[in-house]
Amino acid sequence: MTRANVSVACVILTVAAFTLMYVAPAHSYLQLGSASGGKFSPDKWTSLPVAIQISTSVAGGAKLVGSTHFETVIQHSLASWNGAPNFQTPLGAATLDTLSGPQNGVNLICFCSTNPGFSNNDGTLALTVTTTSGTQIIGANIFFNPQPSGICFATDSGVTSCPNSGDTVQDLQTVATHEIGHLIGLDHSAVVRAIMFPFAPDKQTQLSWDDVAGATVLYPKSAPDVATGAISGSVSLNGSSVFGAHVFANSTTGSNPFSGFPNIRKTPIGILTDTNGAYTILGLPPDSYEVIAEPLDGPVDNTNVDWASDFGQGSVRTNFTTRVALKTST
């Protein structure tokens, strides 16, 4: 792991009220978890690989269209994560069953007739329920709403319209890949093209550098496919720490260190600062980057992530303007 020479940032930014300066590494990424004493601890599975079951029993009336089976789509989504570079592959081969609802000790992905409380046409497409003991994830279920409002789920790209003329097509694999990110312990990301970005495009099944970084920090391969580095620093405004600033490293080159992994798209890698204003961006492949700090004020904002509540804060701080703070290489 290399560490950027962030002392350069201090020189650049002393003219601004908003400064970055070097501090010891803190935590990184938008992961599900909790903070105690200002230190964030991510939730993660510790008993690996995680056994997943896919229910082939689809609730009656489910708005599922296409010739590809539901379970095949989910297998593709699982494969996207399992095939990510540097990822320890915590997700085991999924098995099939016919459960119509959750069961103790089963990590289920389903269009279940028994679910946490969808109501027809309530606008909810899917949700992931994770069960934790301390910071250990001990169970998870992904529920798709059989009858969401205004949408039908497409299991393949051959679907161009829904049976109900008022509905629009949503790619199932896109939603499933996002939800599986939650299942392994990732929260939403503020990086726009990340699969964990909270707003879904019609179809996006590739993982981003940001998704890969978040996942591999949780579950690193002992022998990484591609060596990665880190950038650390802190964000302050007029001498006081900025909590919850979105800091991301954006490549300034056209290179792609993950070129051997076609299912990965190049994006910035971003995190939020902790209560001391500190950040560490881990999982950066070798490249040149500019580091940018911006307020988390939309399209992803405080309400889309659990960061503030994890730290016992009411909200992240957003009363500053976006700054390009640093150019460096890992």
């Binding site: 969808f118 309530d122 899917a126 949700l127 934790t132 003991s133 726009v192 093209r193 911006e294 399209p299």
Partner: protein, 179 residues
């Protein structure tokens, strides 16, 4: 954040993921809800369901104003997730209220016979209130309504989150109720 974020946006996104929902407007939320109230969270308790598969959190709200339906002085609202005896269930995007928090709540009866109401649209019918030092009250359910990306300019020209002043939300609810 908007400019830098949208410089990277290749396609306009339209849904909110995980909890993956389809954005609903205030008018739709009003139509879909049996009760719309302004309330202050007083207390919360969490418990397993009878099958021991889900933890639900029940929050009692002191009703300050009723905008739709008939409600008693307090209502109990159920949400998925919570902590019981060291075991926690979480759903990304579902936030539990803390005592003292105020919200405009779009509610409907629970499918489970527990006497509680649930938030319409799972998370969308929960508009948290925020008061400014200047005395204004804003409400937001954290759901951006609409935005526009101009690829040629590489910037967003308009973005309007589903955040508004309380007066505007009340007005839209009242108009939707009359219709």
């Amino acid at each position: 954040m908007k400019r830098f974020a949208y410089l990277l946006l290749l396609a306009v996104s339209r849904l909110l993921f995980a909890t993956t929902v389809i954005p609903l407007g205030v008018e739709s939320l009003t139509r879909m809800s049996t009760h719309v109230v302004e309330g202050k969270a007083v207390s919360s308790t969490s418990q397993w369901n009878s099958e021991h598969t889900f933890i639900f959190t029940y929050t009692q709200f002191e009703v300050q104003k009723t905008l739709k339906g008939q409600t008693p002085n307090t209502v109990t609202v159920r949400q998925i997730g919570g902590t019981v005896e060291g075991i926690t269930q979480k759903v990304a995007g579902v936030r539990h209220w803390r005592p003292g928090e105020e919200a405009v709540l779009f509610l409907q009866p629970s499918s489970i016979p527990d006497g509680a109401l649930v938030v319409t649209g799972l998370i969308q019918g929960n508009f948290l209130m925020r008061r400014t030092p200047a005395g204004q009250t804003y409400v937001s359910n954290g759901m951006p309504d609409a935005f526009e990306y101009k690829a040629a300019a590489g910037e967003v020209t308009s973005y309007r989150g589903n955040t508004m002043q309380l007066d505007e939300l009340e007005s839209r609810i009242q108009k939707a109720v009359v219709k």
